[in-house]
Every structure is written in C-alpha cells, then in structure tokens.
Amino acid sequence: MTAAVTWLRHGKVRLALHELRGGAGRPLLLLHGLGERTAAMPSWAAPWSGSVMALDFTGHGASTVPRGGGYTAETLLADADAALAHLGPATVVGRGLGAYVATMLAGARPRLVRGAVLVDGPGIVGGGEDGPTPQAYFRLGEAAVSPDPYALFELSRDLRPPDYATLFVRLAVAGSGLDDPVAVTAFYRPPWLAAVAAEPGVLDTTIPAALATYAAAD
C-alpha cells in the first residue's frame, strides 16, 4: 500500500492513519472490522469529495501491538477519537466492530461526527441482555503479530447489551444537530445493531445513499 501515513498517539500506542485518497471537503473516516485493516479505497467511497482516511485500530495493521492484551471497545473508541482530534469534523463509516465503535463515537463526539454509517463486517456479534459474560483466561503466543490474537480473542467474546449501544445513538441525536446522525446498511444485525436500527434518528439504507445524505449535510 502506498497511501500516506500519519502517525497518531493514543497513550503509549502509535496509531496509523492512512490517507487512501486526498480531497477537498470533509474527510471520510473508515473504521475496519475485527482483525482487519483497510488497505485500499473501497469502490463505494469514490464519489466522496473529501479525503478518504483509514485508521488502523490498536493491535491491527501498522499500529502498535501491545503486550499482554487488555482490549475493550472503549479503548478502540479512544483510538477513533484520536483520529477525530487530528481530522476535525468527519463522516465515519465502520465495518463490524468498527460499526460499533462508530456508533459510540457518534454519541461521544456528536458535533464532530457528521453521520455514522454502519456496515457489515467482522466484530461484535453478541449482545446478551444480562448475566455474566463468558470467561476463559489463558496465555496466548508471546510474539507481537498483527492482527493481535489478544484483540481477536478479547473483542470477539465481548458481549454488548443493546441498551448500551442505543444510549450512544440517543446522545448522537441529541447533540449532532443532524436529523438522522446514524445510518444502518448492514444485512446481518446482531441484537445491539437491531436495537440501534430501531431507534428514532437512524436511517435504514444503503452505503451510497447514506454517503450522499451525509455529503449534503452540514
């Protein structure tokens, strides 16, 4: 990949932010799914007039692989916030786990996220309403490889209650000034995503239509 890389810092972690394509206007920030990286421009991003930027989450792509795990979706939220701190207002597209992070980011930084588009991809598929989370604690391999096996292990079994996700949608609706700050395009909808899609202020649409809507928004 030849895209220009900007190195961001989140605590002790160095994050790679790839510029997949330059452009004038509001950037499009792509958040990959669990175990992924975004190495190339997706075709559906071509009509976007601003720059197209892709973040490697902690333990993924070219970003730092930490020692001994400790991942949470909230850590990845702060990764994405580091990208927003650098880019300023952006429209965000997230795949799988990245869609979950995009939902939280839309609620946490409603003035900076000008539309969050939630797309199919690998990541959190659980969504237990209550009760303990599953548990297994063991030692994984010691070598730092990307994607980090700890990220795959910890984040893939991290069950997320639907009402936690919908809280962030409500924060986005209350704080963004957009009529519909979140757009769900995913076909597969785990319980948290089905709950998000059912909230007021959430579009049920396609990726191109969602991007066209947010391109026209303030």
């Binding site: 902690t58 001994g68 795990g69 991942y71 939280m104 609620g107 303990p132 548990q135 604690y137």
Partner: protein, 303 residues
Amino acid sequence: MTATAYPGAEAPARQYGIDSNGVQLAVHEWGRHDAPALMLVHGGFDFARTYSVFAPLLASAGWRVVAWDQRGHGDSGHAELYSWDADLRDALNVMDRIGPDPIPVIGHSKGGAMMIQLADARSARYSHLVNLDGVPYKRAVPDVASHERTRMLATDVERWLDRRRRTVDAQRRPGTLDELAARRGRMNPRLSPDWLRYLVSVGAREDSDGWRWKIDPTMIMGGFGPWRPEGTVMRLPGLPMPFLAVLGGQMEEMGWGTEPEKVRPFLPPEGRLEILPDVGHFVHIEEPVHVAGLVLDLIGRPG
C-alpha cells in the same frame, strides 16, 4: 529509600518479578517460603504493600502470603492497555507460578470482585475465597430522570475521551511526601495520616522535583462501559468453596457501598457474611487484627 515507619508494618520477605504475557509483575511475599501459600489481591489504584500490616498477621499464623502489584500499579510494569480481563489473566499467571494445588484467595475491593469471577472460572484452584468489602453492586443513586441520566453519560464520556487525549505525555503531579499523603487522604478520609505517609513511602518514588505515585499516569479512575456490577453477585451462588465476605458498614467514595441485604440472598451454601458496622471500605487496614482473625478462622492456622 527506606519506608516510613508504621506500627506493625513489615517489608516483604521476598520480592521478585514475573512475566505475564509480556508485562512485568512485581510479586511481594511475606512469611516462610516453604509454608503453604495463599494469594492476596489488592484493589484498584492500590498496590500490594497496602497489605504491609495485614499480610504479616497471616504470615505469623503459618502462611506464605503472596501478593502482586497489578499491571500499572506499584512496582509492576506500565502496559499499553488495561482491562478487567487482562488483570484476571495476570492473576492466573501469578497463581500458576504458586503451583497447581488449591489455595486460599483473599481479595479487597476490585481485587475481591475479580477473584469472585476467577473463582467461577477456575474453582478447582481455590480452597477458600475471602472477599474484603469487594462485592460490587449498583450504587444507590437518587431518582434521576432518564434524559438527565443520558446527559450525565454524555459528560462522562466526553470527559473520559478528553483525558485519553491528554494521556500521551501524562505525568503524575509531584509533591512532598506530606502533600501526596494529604491528597490520598481526601480519597480515604478514614485512614490515619501516619498510615498515609507510610503508603507514600512505599507506593511513590522520589524524583528530583518531588514525590510521585508509581501508578501509571495513563490510568484514569472511573470511566464507563457496559459492565454491570450486579453480574458479580450472580456468580456467588455457584461457588463450591468456603466463602467469607467482610463488609464495612461505613460508606466511602472508593467502595461500592454494597448493602448486606443485597449480598445475603446470593451467598453460596458454604458462605458467610460478616458486617463490621463501624468500619469503612479498608476493613483490613482499619481493623487488621480483627479481620485477620476472621480470615484465619476460615482458612486455618498451619502454625
């Protein structure tokens, strides 16, 4: 630097490091090296040597007391990431180092809650479980309208992210030993100034511009997430080992403020609840002899 003297406080007999999946953990042991082992687990934003009075009481009854500083705390390494699950994995690595036989496990506050979860996952490794004011339960908050609660979350999340942005160059604020003790005293108003000064002398380091707590400055107290404290008591009824919970009756900022009647219905068949009405969150610091006695009555005195 030698520790400030405090009555009954003893330095560990042995200190060493172990590797936990790439993170260095500092282990502190009291008692004879060939005595039967038990594990002692500290709470959030604490460190192993907060047991400097309590651990020697167990050691003098014939136990080898093994405690460690959780990642980012005390003398342990500062990790890139921190999470509940990572702390549990670290605990299991310490347990593996002690050996395969079941041992008594004693945890305070967050360490107590963590050890309930590990007991559920690895019951065969526990001979007994003692929880010192560490059964999490939803804090009783006054009635708040749901839109108000949502606004509170918005503020919490934004404040947390703002602080994450500042962690890149974060350092702990330096001060004199007395200033650090006074700051800690605001979080732990029931602890004596002499004890707080002792804690600084073992939990902080002296740099050229003053004393700093050793804890990783990127760690932030509080935060948010989908974790629900009630999930912990749901694990209690299934625990097969003898279980003792000691709850302090005086509510404090660093505790969960769990009321006895929230815990009692969930006690396992071999479980017992002891309430200390006039004691705060740090039951083993306020009444070390009494609490050590309760623990030894459960786990025995190898002599």
